[in-house]
């Protein structure tokens, strides 16, 4: 079985995160770049299957040159190889275009199962796995809290507002996992050394064909501005009328 895990380099959740106001893009110098924690869990789901089954695990990313460090960590954790889609034309690509490019790469690479995190910690779009599945024309099982992989199917559970939904799909398929899935393993010392010898393939847009290069739709950033500083809140001092004032305050904002 060939499992492709979508991994993304993101700014460390614990560091400062900023936008570049000129481009509207993420300021990558703002904090340490790391592999998204949710993608580590996606990788863990693949590696856990590989621990006791015959499977090839490939880490796939699209990102700037620095993303290769994060691919190195994916390989150290246990992925067999990595693919890096690297093209300066993709800087600032929106979700729709990104999904198109990743789908093209997956088609070129071949896959039985694609595993992604449910949403990235920086963009928080949460729709990329669905867009990719749509392009590929395969089933999508998203937001899975647990994952059971067999040779020809996947199954899992998804939490809803009302309860738990059991979902299953035949392979090939795309799935996305939540933070409730198993915590990722730490790279093993010998795994880190082996990772240095594992192959990392770099593809440009030209390698992926005209379809990927020419996105029919594109979001364009027209203007960006700093989030306004928080203003002082309203203080209500209880002189016997606080209840009424509070109700009026909430009603004025259509909150009740």
């Amino acid at each position: 079985m060939k499992i492709v895990v979508l991994v993304k380099q993101v700014p460390d959740t614990w560091g400062a995160r900023r936008l570049n106001l000129d481009t509207g893009w993420l300021d990558r110098g703002g904090s340490e770049a790391v592999i998204d924690e949710i993608d580590e869990r996606a990788l863990e789901a693949a590696l856990a299957y590989q621990d006791s089954n015959d499977a090839e695990v490939v880490a796939l990313t699209m990102g700037p040159d620095s993303a290769k460090d994060m691919l190195r960590k994916s390989l150290a954790m246990g992925a067999d190889s990595a693919v890096h889609i690297l093209d300066s034309r993709l800087a600032g690509a929106d979700l729709a275009w990104t999904a198109r490019v990743i789908a093209a790469a997956l088609t070129k690479l071949g896959y039985d199962l694609v595993i992604a995190g449910n949403e990235s910690t920086d963009g928080r779009g949460g729709v990329l796995p669905a867009l990719v599945a749509e392009h590929l024309g395969v089933p999508l099982a998203s937001y899975l809290d647990s994952v059971a992989i067999t040779a020809d199917s996947i199954a899992g559970e998804r939490s809803t507002e009302l309860g738990t939904m059991s979902v299953r799909a035949p392979l090939p398929a795309v799935i996305s996992v939540t933070e409730r899935t198993a915590e990722a393993r730490f790279p093993n010392f010998k795994g880190i050394l082996r990772a240095k010898k594992k192959p990392v393939t770099v593809w440009s847009l030209d390698d992926l064909g005209a379809d990927a290069a020419a996105s029919p739709v594109r979001s364009v950033v027209l203007a960006t501005s700093e989030r306004p500083a928080r203003s002082a809140g309203t203080q209500i001092v209880d002189d016997g009328t606080a209840g009424v004032e509070l109700a009026e305050f909430l009603a004025a904002r259509h909150l009740i």
């Binding site: 614990w14 190195r72 960590k73 150290a76 393993r185 730490f186 790279p187 093993n188 010392f189 010998k190 880190i192 050394l193 240095k196």
Partner: protein
Amino acid sequence: MSNYRPPVSDLAFVLEHVVGYPDVARLPGFEHADLATVVELLEQCGDFMANVVAPTNQPGDVEGARRQPDGSVTTPASFKPAYRQYVDAGWGSVPFPEEFDGGGFPWSVGLAIQEMLASSNMAFALCPLLTQGAIDALLHHGDQAQKLRYLPKMISGEWTGTMNLTEPQAGSDVGALTTRAVPRADGTYAITGQKIYITYGEHDMADQIVHLVLARTPNAPAGTKGISCFIVPKFLVNDDGSLGEHNGVNCLSIEHKLGIHGAPTCVLSYEDATGYLIGEENLGMRIMFVMMNSARLSVGTQGLAIGERAYQQALDFAQERRQGLAIGATGVNSAIIDHPDVRRMLLTQKAYLAALRRLMLFNAVHMDRSTHDPDETGRARANEIVGLLTPICKSFGTDLGVELTSLALQVYGGMGYIEETGASQHYRDVRITPIYEGTNGIQAADLVGRKLGIRDGASVTEFLSTMREVEAELADAGDEFDSIRLELGRQFDTLETATQWMLRTGRADPNAVLSGSTPYLRMWGLCTGGWLLARSALAARGIDDAELAETQLVLARFYAEQLLPQSGGLFGAATAGSRDLFALDAAALSDSARLRQNAPLN
């Protein structure tokens, strides 16, 4: 997330620019251990330690190890799963030979890992540390069958190891031990006796414990010349490598201690236990000496490691805690880090810790040279330097460990005395380090009694000259480095004079030399630390990193101007001889103002 921040960037800087690690990576056998690989390993290792091991530190202290009625010992609940992950991640195997599934990396890299492990949780770290000592002894003196049977699983960490030296009447005087080893017809020995202070002598973190036990065979010579070393596994090992019946070793009790509560300190009883001789009979002390340098360097590193963890927490606290208004500040109050005396405490910790890290790694790099330099004279010289620096690393590292954790606690004020903040745990945990693995008094005796006399004093004199080469470099480096050069020069002069006194006095009056040995060792610690910080400041100039250069300059200057001068102040104590130490008898020491006999009471 824990509050421990692994000092990987300082470790990387020191390895590359201060202690000459790139030369180690060029030694035959270390080609795979290039600096870039090592730094990547340290980053991943630090990440592991901070996230998996460091969070177990405080809960482990509160919970402690417990002996169960059936004689088994349970470690704190968080230890077993963390140890499982530690074994899976393979961090214990890094510096051991590839032949036995180790990583084949230099000892200096292993020591950097040890620092982060001990910072994360010293009580936990003792388990791998004792295992490492047992591995070291087996590697050098075990036969091939013993190595193949025990080493791969000990190196991976699946089996742990212990060192059994101490008995109630045999502490610093190991030669007084009485545990018996009686040969059996099948070539094994029957071991009977009681051992105390056995760290991780019984626990639940691994399936097997490999005890190395010092014992006496019948008719063995008295004292240290009659000691042999045996492997006594907790479970006998079957020919296929599986574990067989329980050997005749049991944990009678565990100690209630000042610190390291998570680490069981056991009284072990051996009753007709099956032991396998390592090497030949009566070689036990020689086998212990093999692992002594590395074990003592590891304990010195514990002083650094706990000091570092305590410092990081004190630094965080000093930024949060607000008391009083600093000079020139406005508002209601200031973070206490803005008060000069708190700054002094913090900078004192940082400068000493930086000095210690450099000293430990400098020693470790010479250990690597002593084993891997293709040139025999190079190996021999490196070995001399290791011999000279090891007692200094052990004593200075652990004495400072106690002093710096105390200073970190002081930063907290009253809250440092409250267990909840965690500051006092470091102070309690580190207190064992000046005691075990040869008390610091023993280290000082080793320095003046064994190490100074090497080649009639030429070894130590050459090392002093090597250190003094830094003065010319400082002179060329510009005015900013002047005060560092002047103070280092002054203190090197005094250290040289004290060394000459030691060499001159040693043969005629060994008691005088021993009397001054502890302050003399401290002078060495202070001077080598100042020397390595000066080298750091010089090296940092050459890198395109203004912030790093500034930090290293300030640390070296603060140390030279404000900490190093203590060295000269110790000269009097180092060279005073024994007169006053023995001038008062025990009765006089017990009561300095006794009533005069027969004096009228009214």
